[in-house]
């Protein structure tokens, strides 16, 4: 009974999915490119998940859009740039180096230099 009920609820949702949301591309190389890109695109509905893992409708539709564009011959980075143009850097889990993101990229090196400085000064004190 519960299963029948669950199917009744799920059926309309399944019927409306975009064509390539959960269907792999026939070319394995293109599918691999699309999959890799999907894992680095943020779901705008369930933020914190990648669209590859998300069950949200819009995530499925974005997967379909990515597969269609890759199939049509676009490179993954072109598709990423197209999405960033729509939603801003926020959509990508691979933030580009730019005005707002350079501290993010510089932080590890700055912290490393501070760490070395602290280590050096404490070793020197011991001697």
């Amino acid at each position: 009974m519960t299963i029948v009920f669950a199917l009744l609820i799920a059926a309309p949702a399944l019927a409306q999915k975009a064509p390539l949301a959960d269907t792999q591309l026939s070319d394995p190389a293109q599918e691999a490119q699309a999959k890799a890109l999907m894992e680095t695109i943020r779901c705008v509905e369930c933020q914190g998940q990648a669209i590859a893992d998300s069950n949200a409708d819009i995530a499925g539709n974005m997967r379909s859009l990515i597969r269609e564009r890759i199939k049509a011959g676009e490179s993954p980075e072109q598709v990423r740039a197209w999405l960033i143009q729509r939603y801003g850097d926020y959509i990508s889990y691979d933030p580009p180096l730019g005005g707002a993101t350079w501290p993010l990229w510089a932080a590890p090196f700055v912290l490393l230099v501070i760490g070395i400085a602290i280590a050096r000064s404490s070793f020197r004190r011991k001697r």
């Binding site: 975009a18 705008v44 509905e45 933020q47 819009i58 539709n61 974005m62 960033i84 143009q85």
Partner: protein, 175 residues
């Protein structure tokens, strides 16, 4: 100097505690806004959702006439709450085009019969292609397009009455 340093960890802890408490009581705004605002409307053409109304295409915008695009769905509860606000805009003469996401003609017709029909055109955006092209992240969302076909404003979630006033003011100013 020593005495000050002694209190430093506690002060740091208090600052961290304050930061966390602030995040707890005033959560950050997690709305994903479109990066397409202030940019020209992208090319698109959606087939008609209903036999009684035309579909929505890029070519219907511009030409000196500002219009609204309302991204909606019959299965979306906030869209029901928004319906009276859209009807107010329609009554004031603002032309509204609907972009229906993941929907069927029957469900849309039922939705319009029940909640009123503010739309001049309704496009069938089955796979969210146009929704994504607009940088919209959910339903409902409303975009104000100026007379040159540029996206001027984005309103995320169901329109509130102060936003309706804002739309009316901007729309009158653009005409």
């Amino acid at each position: 100097m020593r005495r000050v340093l002694l209190w430093l960890p506690l002060a740091l802890f208090a600052a961290l505690f304050g930061l966390v408490a602030l995040g707890l009581f005033k959560p950050a705004d997690r709305t994903v806004r479109s990066a397409m605002v202030d940019k020209p409307l992208p090319e698109f053409a959606l087939p008609a959702m209903l036999p009684t109304k035309p579909g929505v295409a890029r070519t219907s915008f511009g030409g000196g006439k500002p219009r609204l695009i309302n991204v909606f769905a019959s299965w979306c509860v906030p869209c029901i709450a928004e319906a009276p606000e859209l009807m107010k805009l329609k009554a004031a003469g603002v032309p509204i085009d609907g972009v229906a996401i993941n929907d069927t003609p029957e469900a849309i017709q039922k939705f319009l019969d029940r909640n009123g029909d503010p739309y001049e055109r309704i496009g069938n955006d089955k796979a969210s292609q146009v929704q994504i092209a607009l940088g919209s992240s959910g339903v409902p969302e409303t975009f104000l397009i100026d007379g040159r076909g540029r996206i001027v404003r984005q309103y995320v979630s169901n329109l509130q009455s102060d936003q309706v006033d804002d739309i009316l003011k901007t729309w009158r100013g653009m005409r």
